[in-house]
């Protein structure tokens, strides 16, 4: 524990190693206290949600702190059948389409921006990046109008197209950085073999950069699965709502059936938590590199 010496500066000599250790442990007590305190703040509400999602409403009322007397898995079945299954399907469909669209278009754009020299290149780059500065809230009214004019209001496209448009800047930024690293020689030898730019793109750039494309997919999925405002405003039909907007309806429908409501919340949160736990590395890399340069 060589770095722990620093906690006790005056005893800095090799003879008092044991004292170091004790002081180092003592010095780490405040750190662990803070961690534990914050852990309770974060974990307790989540734990509360988990245990109460298996209870009857009466039990939540009488004793929301204890473990359930009997674990009511039926709450989950009930929630699933009260609309969550439909929202779930819609969310999955919109998320998959948005991810594929965003990553494919961004990869195309990044390829164009990194492997060619042409007039207006920098301007187009700024155009793509600039989108990151603009919040969707600001365009809400004109977007609403536009979506009506295009005749896609209350369809999946009313979500997918704006989502793709707002996710392109960050995704193109990620992919562009990776494409810039691809050695020129690879490309040149492929051209000598008679490949055109399209086959260089599909046979070299895509397979070579799968990890970064995956990062793009994970980040887009996270955004799309959780997006609320567009989902609330651009879709009216109950049958087309995604989870975040659908849950509002779900809450109103279940007024007092709290166990089932909590089960619905659990079902809605689980896929993206699992995605995160398994893909933590890609997730964090994406978040970090996106924000540093944004």
């Amino acid at each position: 524990m060589e770095t722990d010496k620093a906690t006790v500066k005056y005893e800095y000599n090799p003879g008092t190693r044991k004292l170091f250790k004790q002081k180092a442990i003592l010095g780490s007590v405040p750190l662990y206290t803070i961690l534990l305190f914050y852990f309770i703040i974060i974990a307790y509400p989540l734990f509360w949600m988990i245990i109460n999602s298996f209870k009857t409403t009466e039990e939540i009322f009488s004793n929301s702190w204890a473990l359930p007397q009997s674990w009511l898995v039926s709450n989950y079945v009930h929630a699933w059948n009260t609309g969550i299954s439909g929202y779930f399907f819609n969310s999955a469909l919109v998320t998959v389409s948005t991810c594929l669209g965003t990553v494919f278009l961004s990869a195309l754009g990044a390829y164009g921006l990194t492997r060619f020299n042409f007039k207006g290149k920098n301007l187009l780059l700024i155009f793509c990046m600039g989108g990151m500065m603009l919040s969707p809230q600001v365009s809400l009214v004109p977007l609403y109008k536009l979506i009506q004019v295009l005749g896609i209001h209350d369809t999946y496209l009313a979500l997918i197209l704006p989502y793709i448009a707002y996710r392109i800047p960050i995704t193109i930024l990620l992919i562009r950085a990776a494409f810039l690293e691809v050695p020129k020689e690879l490309e040149e030898s492929a051209f000598l073999d008679g490949c055109n730019t399209w086959s260089v793109f599909t046979k070299i750039f895509i397979p070579l950069n799968l990890p970064i494309l995956l990062t793009g997919v994970v980040l887009t999925a996270y955004f799309t699965w959780n997006e609320f405002m567009f989902a609330l405003i651009f879709i009216d039909s109950e049958a087309l709502k995604t989870i975040p907007a659908g849950l509002m309806q779900f809450r109103d429908a279940l007024q007092t059936n709290w166990g089932v409501l909590l089960a619905g919340l659990m079902i809605s949160a689980t896929p993206i938590i699992i995605l995160f736990l398994f893909m933590q590395k890609y997730f964090i890399r994406g978040l970090a590199s996106g924000s540093v340069k944004g």
């Binding site: 278009l105 919040s135 977007l143 536009l146 448009a165 392109i168």
Partner: protein
């Protein structure tokens, strides 16, 4: 030859088209709309000049909303940026290395959970009868502090802001963790040789080294604070009365409840100006920070 010249544009065209249509065109349109009066259901627009803005500046709810957004900004900077930095420094301290992976994952979990789920969960946390918060206070013998947190106008906005902190501290923390991991170890070793303790190493090594991320985090937090919509909308709908209204909910209510699309566009223009101002000030500060 001419075809070869077109090729690069073909690769970028889809991005440019979709962004032009759904990102840039609406921004320009919004600016234009804010000088008109119109309804969502009719094609007729009446040009009213600056009337929407004049009305807005005389609307007392606008000032309540603006004040709440400023509270949002101040509290978010304190908890997310400073709190996130401190948590990141603790998790990157060598003494916590055996547990830091676990805590990091747990602290980040709220970030990946949908805001709708979190807001609905917190409507339980704040519930006056069964809520965790009031239960917890009575456990500490502080029953008189218990209240309907979201239902009283003095506490509503702060209860809403607290939810946003709960969700987002982990995000900023993660950004700082990535940034701290990039600090050369030698700097810490040199500080140790000079006899610096944990606190001094934090102040004299960590803080200056994560300066760049500090500005990014502040920018993200401030922009988020002025465009916030989801949490107040789901938790209180801006109520009770207009006590927890923010610019985002005011915009939404004007557009989709009162059908005053022009007025809503004017609010959006104000939000755009505020966020651009924040970015400009940040960039200026950042540049001077770099020189110094």
């Amino acid at each position: 030859m001419s075809i070869r010249k077109i090729v690069p544009y073909l690769y970028i065209a889809p991005c440019i088209l979709i962004m032009g249509l759904f990102v840039y065109y609406p921004i320009v349109e919004n600016f234009r709309f804010s000088f008109y009066e119109f309804s969502a259901f009719s094609p007729d627009k009446v040009f009213v000049g600056f009337e929407n803005f004049l009305n807005l500046f005389q609307d007392e709810v606008f000032y309540i909303a603006l004040k709440n957004n400023i509270w949002y900004a101040v509290i978010s900077i304190i908890f997310q940026v400073f709190g996130g930095l401190i948590l990141a420094a603790i998790l990157e301290d060598p003494v916590t290395r055996f547990v830091s992976g676990f805590f990091r994952t747990i602290f980040f979990l709220p970030v990946v959970i949908s805001i709708t789920v979190i807001a609905l969960l917190f409507s339980f946390v704040y519930n006056p009868n069964i809520g965790i918060l009031n239960n917890f206070l009575s456990l500490l013998g502080l029953e008189e502090w218990a209240r309907a947190w979201l239902g009283e106008s003095e506490t509503a906005i702060f209860a809403v802001i607290a939810v946003s902190q709960w969700q987002s501290i982990g995000y900023i923390m993660m950004l700082f963790i990535v940034s701290i991991q990039a600090i050369p170890r030698e700097l810490y070793e040199a500080a140790e040789i000079d006899g610096a303790g944990k606190v001094r190493k934090f102040i004299y090594v960590t803080v200056p080294q994560v300066r760049e991320m500090f500005f990014v985090a502040t920018l993200l937090t401030l922009t988020g604070a002025f465009t916030v919509f989801n949490e107040p909308y789901i938790l209180t709908g801006g109520g009770p009365g207009n006590a927890s209204e923010v610019l985002g909910t005011l915009l939404y209510n004007s557009a989709f409840f009162k059908d005053q699309m022009g007025y809503a566009s004017a609010i959006a223009t104000i939000i755009l100006i505020l966020t651009l101002l924040v970015s400009l000030v940040q960039m200026k500060l950042f540049r001077t920070g770099k020189d110094g």
